[in-house]
Amino acid sequence: MTEVYEFVLSHPDMVARWGVDHVTLSLVAMVIAAMLGCTLGVFIAGKGRERLADGVLYLAEIMMTVPSLALFGLLMLLLGYMGLSAIGFVPAVITLIVYGQLPILRNTYTAIRQVDPAVIEAGRGMGMTERQLLFKVKFPLALPVIMAGLRNATVLIVGIAAIAALIGAGGLGVPIFRGLRNARMDLIIIGGVLVSVLALMVDGLLSLLARWMTPRGLGVESK
């Protein structure tokens, strides 16, 4: 344990670098994944798109089952083939976005579909446009479940971002893998503990955000 302390105290800049890289990577991936997932989720929840929804959700599930390491590898091949840089920040972000899709998509889709049809009919019958229905009725009502999906995705992304170190994207995976190669327990612990702490913190923040955003009338306590 003392080695861990000593290392942190003697190399604060390095630890900070890994931490900041990790946060940046996760954050960028998360924001894009959220926007993409919510939009796509709302879209496939639309009327008459049941078959499309099945297809999209199925695809997202398959992506989930591919081991993250393999996905990084596959993406390297793909990007290399397209003549783009196959290592570093961009491929890492893309992989993380793909990973975050399933929980966000699934929750958004389910939440929108589960809004009480009577509520939607009432809104439409009173002369709301489809857009107003979506933003004033469906979305606020679906929000608690969508937020749960976002939290799920975030924890997942923060965790998997550690593996991004393997393709040169930096982050807290760097000390973990370096420690593994050199049998340096202190480095493994620093990386591992910080990843966990970061995941918990982000989850806690999002939970607060969810509680703040949940309309009061729903009476749903976010956990």
Partner: protein, 371 residues
């Protein structure tokens, strides 16, 4: 106000939901669309605000063809209340009622004022309810808010799909009565869908009875009951149409106005004479201020003494707006064949007897049969 001409709905799979339905609802009238489930009544209603697109025919609202109007604009000017209410759970009662005013671009202050007015109209104290959320309300209160919301934009036309459906029978009766009173004030043109014949008879100025997508008979409730067009209508209104007809007539229409009465301090002798004179065996006893006290019967009035000594005090009385079925029910439960009709201060207005009711219904049924 609302005119349907050969309105037809055919679904893509060929099912004909509504076939050439035509009728007209006059301004301020309440028209009930009645029929068994699957008869096309809800479909017909939803074609009016174009929640369902019609296949053929036309619908005119206040003279203009509804297919030429902007869909959302059309709906904002037609109140809409449904059985499941569909209140927005994430909005307060006030915000729910303000939905259409907000869509119409009223100012915040105007919206709030409207919400308060409507809560007042539905006998819900605004300051108590306006900030509540739907989940904090009882079933009956939700239905009220649903109706208030439908009235939000002060639409001339109101569509109601089983608006009193999902509540217990007692609350339903209460709401129906209240709504009838409100309608007296607001005089909207209303189309109300129900499968409940009692509700139809009670609420409707006219009833459109539908069967398998077609309009079978469009007539006032009394005509439907006593002049059914065919065996389907007769079957639907049921063998107890006489009993149902009791709902159509109010006590004030048949009561004996200013009947002979007795005062508590009168001699029984005088009361007995009066009964004999009118050929009746009971007199309503009223206080000097006109309040109904009870009954004095001829058999008790044989001896000397004062009327108050033989008065059977009774609090059973009907209002003058009570329907005959209520009056009859009061008679049956109190075991009496006469019933006092009183105003809201319990002052005697008249008397209804069992014979009156019998006579009235006999006339109604005969009147129907002779046409």
């Amino acid at each position: 106000m609302i005119r349907l001409e050969n309105v037809t709905k055919v679904y893509p799979d060929g099912t004909v939901a509504v076939r050439r339905v035509s009728f007209e609802v006059l301004k301020g009238e309440l028209c009930v669309l009645l029929g068994p489930s699957g008869c096309g009544k809800t479909t017909t209603m939803k074609m009016i605000n174009r929640l369902i697109a019609m296949t053929d025919g036309s619908i005119y609202i206040d003279g203009s063809d509804n297919s030429t109007m902007d869909e959302t604009e059309l709906r904002r000017n037609i109140g809409y209340a449904i059985q499941d209410v569909g209140l927005f759970p994430h909005m307060t009662v006030g915000e729910n009622i303000e939905t259409v005013p907000a869509l119409k671009g009223w100012t915040k202050a105007e919206q709030r004022k409207r919400a308060e007015e409507l809560l007042e109209l539905l006998r819900m104290r605004p300051h108590e309810y306006i900030e509540k959320y739907p989940r904090e309300l009882s079933g009956g209160e939700r239905q009220r808010v649903g109706v208030a919301r439908a009235l939000g934009g002060d639409p001339p036309v109101l569509l109601m799909d089983e608006p009193f459906g999902a509540i217990d029978p007692i609350t339903r009766l209460e709401l129906q009565n209240e709504f009838l009173k409100i309608q007296q004030e607001i005089k909207k043109t209303i189309i109300l869908v129900t499968h409940d014949i009692y509700e139809a008879i009670k609420m409707g100025d006219k009833i459109a009875l539908m069967k398998e997508g077609q309009l079978v008979q469009y007539a006032p409730p009394a005509d439907l009951l006593f002049r059914p067009k065919d065996s389907f209508v007769a079957g639907f209104v049921g063998a107890d149409r006489g009993l149902k007809g009791l709902q159509l007539i109010r006590t004030r229409e048949v009561m004996w106005k200013s009947p002979p009465t007795a005062h508590p301090d009168e001699k029984t002798e005088a009361a007995r004479k009066r009964m004999k004179q009118y050929g009746i065996d009971r007199l309503a006893v009223i206080e000097p201020d006109g309040k109904f006290r009870g009954w004095a019967s001829a058999s008790d009035a044989q001896g000397a003494g004062r009327v108050k000594e033989i008065t059977k005090i009774s609090s059973v009385a009907a209002g003058k707006n009570a329907v005959l079925s209520e009056a009859l029910s009061l008679m049956l439960t109190s075991g009496s064949d006469v019933l006092a009709v009183v105003d809201q201060h319990n002052r005697l207005e008249g008397v209804v007897t069992f014979e009156t009711i019998q006579e009235t219904m006999r006339e109604a049924v005969q009147g129907g049969a002779s046409q």
